[in-house]
């Protein structure tokens, strides 16, 4: 669900209720945001189990620190920021921060599948997103799938607007290369 599509005032009200220990409000926020946070965490960590741990820790923070939420940021942005910090902590603790490097851009463009229909294009998008370097995949996921604005995505990732635009542009370029098969390879594809 795109972050921008969620009624943010409702989100803020739910967080306020969670701050008073309302478990039903907590569960409503799980329904609204957990799947997106799982996808975002997986982009960064490239590991299902670790991504699930990060989502659990994020919602534990929500449950125990909702009273600290200040409506300066949208709830979705706030939760993505928490998940990002937790994921970075894990990568740092296991000396895997370099996996976020953008240097393996060629890994995506090397594969160019034949794209016939919408279903296959959607599947190919998932494959291509998973193959993007960590920060590029995270930036594209935040802006183009979860509906965060550029400013919000930059805030989540702890980078400036120019750096975010660079990540987005390189990510989109790699995805286009992957998703647009040249005519010659289309003829050869199974």
């Amino acid at each position: 669900v795109a972050n921008s599509e969620l009624p943010t005032d409702e989100d803020a009200e739910l967080v306020r209720r969670v701050g008073h220990g309302d478990a039903s409000a907590y569960r409503a926020l799980v329904v609204r945001h957990a799947a997106n946070l799982q996808r975002f965490s997986k982009r960064l960590l490239r590991d299902d189990a670790e991504a699930e741990d990060v989502v659990q820790e994020t919602f534990l923070r929500l449950w125990q620190r909702a009273a600290e939420y200040r409506p300066a940021a949208r709830v979705g942005t706030w939760l993505h920021s928490i998940a990002h910090h937790l994921a970075i902590d894990r990568l740092r603790a296991t000396r895997r921060l370099d996996t976020l490097s953008d240097e393996d851009e060629g890994a995506v463009s090397a594969r160019q599948p034949l794209l016939l229909d919408e279903k296959r294009r959607a599947e190919a998008l998932e494959v291509a997103l998973a193959a993007l370097p960590g920060r590029q995949g995270a930036a594209v996921t935040l802006v183009h799938l979860h509906g965060l604005s550029g400013a919000e995505a930059a805030e989540v990732l702890g980078i400036g607007p120019e750096a975010l635009e660079s990540l987005l542009a390189r990510g989109r370029r790699a995805l286009k290369t992957f998703l647009t098969a040249p005519a010659s390879s289309k003829d050869q594809a199974p």
């Binding site: 996808r39 919602f59 959607a122 183009h144 799938l145 604005s149 550029g150 635009e165 542009a169």
Partner: protein, 158 residues
């Protein structure tokens, strides 16, 4: 009046945010829309970039794994909420203050009794509760005061 956007910057915006103006930064959206309205080149560039946006629109909504969904649902049961913990702490703090107040009342009453007994000249020695009838009376009074102070406190449920 917005600052006009040059084609290079427009290309950079398209490359990063795609062809949907609602994704553009707030400060540049209006100028980008103006350029789109006036420039055929800009429209062509946007059309070329829109293909990827269409693929994003096809992306499947992520699904939460059942195991994670269960764990998240159980979290409020497994982990105490801080407000509940602070309520509990408040009870204990209240109990502590009540006990301290009761002790203060008890001690104050005892001291007053001893001083008045001393002032009446009934004894030049330091009276002790075990050796004076007045002290015996005070003990009963003190117990009542302590009961009064502690009796008003609600019982802890946990």
């Amino acid at each position: 009046m917005t600052t006009p956007l040059d084609l290079e910057r427009f290309k950079a915006l398209l490359a990063a945010y795609g062809a949907r103006p609602e994704r553009f930064p707030d400060g540049e959206r209006e100028a980008a829309l103006a350029l789109l309205a006036s420039s055929e080149v800009a429209r062509d560039l946007a059309r070329a970039e829109a293909a990827l946006d269409d693929v994003f629109a096809l992306a499947h909504a992520p699904e939460l794994s059942p195991d994670l969904a269960r764990k998240l649902a159980e979290l409020p049961i497994r982990k105490a909420h801080p407000e509940r913990r602070s309520r509990r702490a408040a009870w204990f703090t209240g109990l502590g203050w009540a006990a301290a107040a009761a002790f203060g009342i008890f001690w104050g009453a005892r001291t007053e009794a001893l001083e008045s007994a001393s002032g009446r000249g009934e004894s030049q020695e330091i009276a002790t509760p075990a050796t004076t009838g007045a002290a015996d009376d005070l003990d009963e009074e003190d117990e009542e005061l302590v009961e009064l102070a502690l009796g008003g406190l609600p019982q802890l449920s946990e």
